[in-house]
Symmetry: C2
């Protein structure tokens, strides 16, 4: 379906909990994943929670990549929102999955800003 | 479905394009939306694109809120990823929708880090 953006949601289960709780490792993995996927990095922000867990966002020229980790559940949720066709979020998916040592994962791809809906809204608006 | 996090995706069509292109307005709206929803703000980052469009991320203790705007299409895509039950993303939905003057919108709610999948992965792992 034609859309302005694509939003990939990665569900990474059964990861290595030590890596999930290591803010420096998560930062390195996210920045490398952004680069490998072809994204242009604008900024990044990481936060370590007490007693555990890390949140991280990499702002890219093509939108964003975010991660939230739950070491106590060996789980990480990653989002990759992108626009255009130059970036390949699935390269990031494979890379992050390997680096977090996830043994069970899946992803969902969603269309954001559907062309059909934009056109419909414009028609209503001008009617 | 029981899960660690809830991820809301807001699709905001037919917005006021002048507001979508105003980085200061977007920043104010996102921070106010985070506060009104009950979230604890940790940090924020906004970026203005040339010739148009704004990206913004608010990192909250409960995960993140992100926005990407396409003034040329009168569209904004917003994500609200949260955990726990203290934060109400739908308060942010109504607030952002009103402030961007969206005349057509919808949202999707997704479970992230499903309890059932975490348990299944743990069983496999220990088998």
């Amino acid at each position: 379906m034609a859309s302005l953006g694509q939003h990939f949601l990665f569900e990474l289960y059964d990861c290595n909990p030590d890596i999930l709780d290591d803010i420096e490792a998560i930062k390195d993995i996210m920045l490398a994943a952004a680069g490998k996927s072809g994204a242009t990095i604008l900024n990044n922000f990481l936060h370590k929670f007490s007693p555990q867990g890390v949140s991280g966002v990499v702002i890219i020229a093509e939108s964003h990549i975010a991660i939230h980790t739950w070491p106590e559940n060996s789980y990480a949720g990653v989002d990759f929102f992108t626009c255009g066709s130059r970036v390949n979020p699935l390269v990031a998916y494979e890379y992050i999955k390997a680096k977090l040592e996830s043994r069970y994962s899946n992803y969902t791809k969603l269309a954001r800003g559907k062309t059909q809906e934009i056109e419909r809204a414009a028609e209503w608006s001008s009617a």
